[in-house]
Amino acid sequence: MLDSLTHLMGGFGAALTPANLLFAAIGVLLGTAIGVLPGIGPAMAVALLLPVTYAFDPTGAFIMFAGIYFGAMFGGSTTSILLNTPGESASVMAALEGNPMAKSGRGAQALATAAIGHFVGGLLGVIGLVLLAPLVASVAVDIGAPDYFAVMVLAFVAVTSVLGSSRIRGFAALAIGLTIGLVGLDPLSGQPRLTFGVPQLADGIDVVIVAVGLFAVGEALWVAAHLRRGQQEVIPVGRPWLSRGDVKRAWKPWLRGPFIGFPFGSIPAGGAEIPTFLSYVTERRLSTHRDEFGSGAIEGVAGPESAASASSAGTLSTMLTLGLPTTAIAAVMLAAFQQFGIQPGPLLFQTEPDLVWTLIASLFVGLVLLLVLNLPLAPAWAKLLRIPRPYLYAGILFFACIGAYAVSGQAVDLLVLLGIGAVGFVMRRYGLPVLPAIIGVILGPDAELQLRRALQIADGDVTTLVSTPVAVTVYTVIALLLLFPLVRKVLPARGTPPVDRDREGTPV
């Protein structure tokens, strides 16, 4: 505990150098700008900005990524408040109350509530990270290959089962991702798999190309096929501010949000979607202005926004301590770590303490910058929503190509990028979720390695996989996740569950 504080102080020392402050500021600004742009979510933002960081040392790069993460999350809610068409599932709840507020002339208050909510949620979330992450890491150091394998299987099952309407499609997406991850020489035996004799495929398909292809090219092609003709109405907005009465109504939701957001962000349950929804329902139940919900209740913006921000911190905790990505953006960041030859996981706190604690300290710095920069800049961000769409999507494709080319300097990679983009297009068309696919690409090879390592140590004895309490517990959770819908089907129907009733009227 005291140890963490000492480390954190050291981290602040490193984070507050002019260069690192600059990286944090650039990250927050780029992240917000790109997050505000319609059609670009946080995961695509990080994927597109990967090549920008190749020139930096890992610390600078990750400080920037942290800024991009928080910035893009905030940018997404700005878009949904002012446009009422949320691009990310995380900002659906912000649109629900924020957009009516903006329509009735309270856009400035809605943006201020969102910005402060992000600050408070992020702050409490990162404090949670500081308190819990070293603890989790020290426990996780002792877990072995069988446990790791179990946890990764849990991640696969959870991201496909908890979210989305169809499990078959979730698992299909996962299988596609795992197949892409399989391409290349097997690291243990050196045997080629799915390379079809093409030498360029021997090293596998680079994760960066997969991420950029699935998120940027797939999205651009998908939007191109269904481009909304005619401009949408953007609600003009002034400088965000809050009255005393607003603060009085918002401060409790701000403080409650993180307690819902952080735990959900840290487990593989899809990041901010579920906690923002739960926070919204909670605030509606607790509010004394319940009649205002649906027509612009400030509590409905404050709680979910704070929860969303805290869930990012929870996501980062799990990624740093276990090397386990729970959201698409964490998966892309994990890929970025691997590009720099760093393996996140329990050992990271021992092998790279300076990097980790500088990163954590810069999360605090990034949050302060986010608040300071975004309140005055909000009207400028709103202008970004008017960018002509041909330029926007041409730009996305342009930077996607630079990112793919930068990986190995081969023009052929652009064709691979297009192929992956086509897969991303088909997935969007037929409702296959992208998250399981990217998790499969990134975690798949690692999971196979842990499985084979476990059996190697146990001389091929399969029971080794269930030989530890951790593994048994995790497999029980997996079984429950898989069986739950079957059980619900068998049980007699008891009318519409309250969750579904609340879902009604959600403008998705």
Partner: protein, 179 residues
């Protein structure tokens, strides 16, 4: 707004027919083909497990191939029983129109052209083709303005990445003058 949006003739929904309704079966087919590919590719390679690696490189691949085939069957059953995947919504996505595959095809062509042009003409020129081609495909008809923006973006990006960030992007003959 000076960008002229291209008009797409609205196609009558009746024309899509049964095949269009069940176009999702194409995903089943895709899963099936990939599954067969994984299984065949794995079986063609030798290399069972050894003492130091009891599982070997084939086991996981075979399980995955089997899973792909199983999912293909399950998805087919689901589609035939009336299930369908929901197309993804978004800020700029209007799902009430039929997919405009012509635009998608044009964008794919632009990407392929870019890949072919990079080794010949270098990034700045290929980048202009990429950006301008994409804006044209997406319906912009202000040719000159688009060209100027494309040139600006492409050269600025080349200077930024190649010059400042150390990402090696070939300048091509046109940029040879700058060394």
């Amino acid at each position: 707004m000076t960008v002229v949006q291209e008009e797409t003739p609205a196609r009558a929904p009746e024309k899509r027919g049964r095949l269009g309704e069940h176009s999702e079966l194409g995903v089943s087919l895709l899963l099936f083909v990939v599954g067969v590919l994984v299984v065949v590719d794995t079986l063609l390679e030798s290399g069972a497990g050894s003492d130091s690696d009891p599982l070997g490189p084939r086991t996981v691949a075979l399980v995955l191939g089997g899973a792909l085939l199983l999912l293909s069957v399950l998805l087919t059953v689901d589609v035939l029983r009336g299930g369908h995947g929901e197309a993804e919504a978004g800020e700029d996505v209007d799902l009430s129109t039929p997919p405009d595959l012509r635009t998608v095809g044009m964008l794919a062509g632009v990407l392929i052209a870019t890949a072919a042009l990079i080794p010949l003409l270098g990034w700045p020129v290929a980048g202009v083709v990429l950006f301008w081609g994409a804006t044209y495909s997406l319906g912009s008809r202000t040719y000159l303005r688009d060209l100027l923006i494309a040139a600006g973006v492409s050269v600025a990006a080349w200077v930024l990445f190649d010059g400042l960030l150390g990402v090696d992007l070939p300048g091509g003959p046109l940029m040879g003058v700058f060394g």
